[in-house]
């Protein structure tokens, strides 16, 4: 029985991937015809550089959504982390080795706190993370309202470094996704996220440490937000208390487009990576076609509805 379920799950997933990959190919071909600057090495280099931050945040969101939760605090957390990193480095540029781990530890701790609150207070994650987001945002603004701080040269260089013409940050991103994918699919703790997301009560009855798994998933989301903040600070050179605001909702689109179901238990990080690629590439192409960013919003909304409708219909059949 479980073999059948696993098989069904695999097929369903691969079908989602096929749809997204087909859309990606369609987009590349259409882009090649519509704009002569789209299919260039240079543009793809830029594109990969752009998608790193969104990719990182979406990866964290994927863990939480797989669990059946949602993390609306990621945007504020990214903003707060950039402020922390940039101001710390302005104070002591030589302590780069200390600043970055500290930022990651702080972000992970706040993420874990989100998970812990949903468990201890038994409050819907939407409410917990919304409240936390408000608290983090308010705290960051009280510290500093304007973008500020600076980063040492080395960190800025890292964000523009290239290896064989490919941005190093993009290589790091793909490596992290690969690790995350392997962990989710192959390891006991990774699989347990699917179990808890699929049926929390059954997972509990099977003796899984549900609370610990929930806290772990939210902590990972926090960690990813911290990593995204490092990439972001390296590129912009400042800490901006508002820079992450839009990321909260943006991070959900690639996850659901990639076939991860909001109810939890189904999906994966490969879908999210493809989703990030699709969203970023589409916006990139629309920019080349001089479509105003206003209508790009409309298109993004339609993509969410269409993607989710397709996945929802398939589930019913």
């Amino acid at each position: 029985m479980s073999a059948v379920v696993a098989e069904f799950r695999r097929n369903r997933l691969s079908l989602s991937y096929v749809i997204v990959v087909a859309l990606l190919i369609l987009l590349v071909v259409a882009g090649g015809f519509l704009s002569d600057r789209f299919l260039t090495w240079r543009n793809f280099g830029n594109l990969f550089q752009q998608l790193v931050v969104l990719g990182m945040v979406s990866l964290g969101q994927t863990f939480v959504v797989l669990l059946g939760g949602i993390d609306l605090a990621v945007g504020s957390l990214v903003s707060a982390s950039t402020v922390f990193i940039a101001h710390f480095l302005e104070w002591r540029p030589d302590l780069l080795w200390l600043a970055l781990p500290l930022a990651l530890i702080a972000a992970t701790t706040i993420g874990a706190l989100n998970g812990l609150l949903t468990i201890v207070l038994r409050v819907h994650p939407l409410i917990v993370t919304l409240g936390m987001s408000s608290i983090i945002f308010g705290g960051t603004l009280m510290y500093n309202k304007e973008p500020g701080g600076s980063v040492p040269r080395g960190l800025a260089d890292f964000s523009y470094a290239k290896l064989w013409g490919i941005p190093v940050t993009a290589i790091v991103l793909v490596a992290i996704f690969a690790l995350a994918g392997l962990w989710l699919q192959r390891s006991r703790s990774g699989r347990s996220i699917y179990f808890v997301g699929g049926d929390r009560e059954a997972a509990r009855l099977n003796g899984l440490p549900v609370s610990r798994i929930v806290v772990m998933a939210y902590a990972l989301s926090g960690l990813c937000a911290g990593l995204a903040a490092i990439f972001l600070t390296a590129r912009t050179g400042v800490g901006d208390p508002r820079i992450g605001t839009a990321l909260t909702l943006q991070s959900i689109t690639p996850v659901v487009v990639g076939g991860t179901v909001l109810a939890g238990g189904r999906g994966g990080v490969l879908g999210t990576l493809l989703g990030v690629l699709l969203v970023t590439m589409l916006n990139n192409l629309l920019n080349f076609l001089n479509v105003s960013s206003y209508y790009q919003w409309v298109i993004q909304g339609l993509i969410i509805i269409i993607a989710v409708s397709i996945h929802a219909t398939k589930r019913r059949q």
């Binding site: 819907h124 919304l130 408000s134 608290i135 983090i136 919003w297």
Partner: protein, 322 residues
């Protein structure tokens, strides 16, 4: 068939616990008002109170609608975007005389109803989760609105629109009268009518509702339409208050309306809640915000306090039910 009572907790005995359970929010609000009056001499001044209520009215209208949607296990993130879009729609008539105001109202309500219909259809018929359906609607409306205005603020409005914010009938602010009317009409529908009972039934157990001959899809779509229409009306009143249409009129109202409803004891899991309690939630939220300002704290402090209160209130109701 046994008469179906609305599943509100009704306490019979008179103990401190039961009083607090039923009137906890009122007790909290009264305590808050006393604290506010003690800490800040300006708080109880009529000018400040009217100011507080004027700010509260459009939010209250949105909360009336949001309550309907949350009762059927949903939530509507598109309300704020809809408010701003309705405000832009109001300027689209380029009206300079007050004759246009009825037309503006009809157009705004019709537009909002269509938005609610689409939201409800996506949730009920297409199985899209309420979060994503209304999130997408929020982004789409935002795009259409900015596409139309080009991002620039507009202020071509009939002069009478300001009346919606500052006007009074028999000394009572118009926006409060409208809020009261909306609350009474929709409160009657929700708590005294057959349709209202069906909403509670669908919210607490859709399958049982279906087996009892209720069509959950129709009830759900109705709730989304009510929510959007309330938000549309709230948008017009907020527009009267701010006077100029920036493209972000009402920003933050989607979250504030959910926060207020949750503080008022409307359960996000559906099937439990009361419109008037939700409006008390609005009062608590607005008084807290006002108090933070009067006490001279930085405005960012509002965000922190709001965050703590939303989590705390949700936790309070959760443990009480358990």
């Amino acid at each position: 068939m046994a008469p179906l009572e609305t599943p509100l907790p009704r306490s019979r005995g008179v103990s401190v616990a039961s009083v607090f359970e039923r009137y906890g929010l009122i007790v909290f609000l009264v305590a808050l008002l006393l604290v506010a009056a003690a800490l800040s001499p300006t708080f109880l001044r009529p000018a400040n109170l009217v100011n507080v209520l004027t700010i509260a009215a459009p939010l209250g209208m949105v909360v009336v609608g949001q309550t309907f949607v949350i009762l059927v296990r949903g939530l509507d993130l598109s309300v704020a975007s809809l408010m701003a879009t309705v405000a832009v729609l109001a300027t689209a008539f380029k009206a300079t005389t007050n004759d246009a105001i009825p037309i503006i109202f009809v157009a705004a309500i019709a537009f909002s109803a269509v938005v609610g219909l689409v939201n409800g259809w996506l949730v009920a018929k297409r199985n899209v989760s309420p979060f994503l359906a209304t999130l997408a609607m929020m982004i789409i409306l935002q795009g259409i609105r900015f596409g139309y205005t080009g991002g620039a603020p507009i202020s071509t409005l009939p002069p009478g629109m300001g009346f919606l914010a500052s006007g009074r009938i028999f000394g009572i602010p118009v926006n409060l009268i409208t809020l009261a009317l909306l609350a009474i009409v929709f409160g009657t529908v929700l708590h005294r009518s057959r349709l209202g009972r069906e909403i509670f039934m669908v919210g607490s157990n859709p399958k049982a509702a279906f087996l009892n001959g209720v069509s959950p899809d129709r009830v759900i779509i109705f709730c989304y339409v009510v929510c959007s229409v309330c938000a549309g009306i709230g948008g017009l009143f907020l527009l009267g208050y701010v006077g100029t249409v920036s493209n972000w009129v009402g920003q933050g109202y989607e979250l504030d309306s959910i926060v207020a409803a949750v503080m008022g004891g409307v359960a996000l899991t559906g099937g439990r809640g009361n419109i008037f309690a939700a409006l008390l939630g609005v009062a608590v939220l607005v008084v807290i915000n006002n108090l933070v300002l009067l006490l001279g704290f930085p405005i960012e402090m509002q965000l922190i306090i709001k965050g703590i209160i939303i989590i705390g209130a949700a936790a309070f109701y959760r443990t009480r039910l358990a």
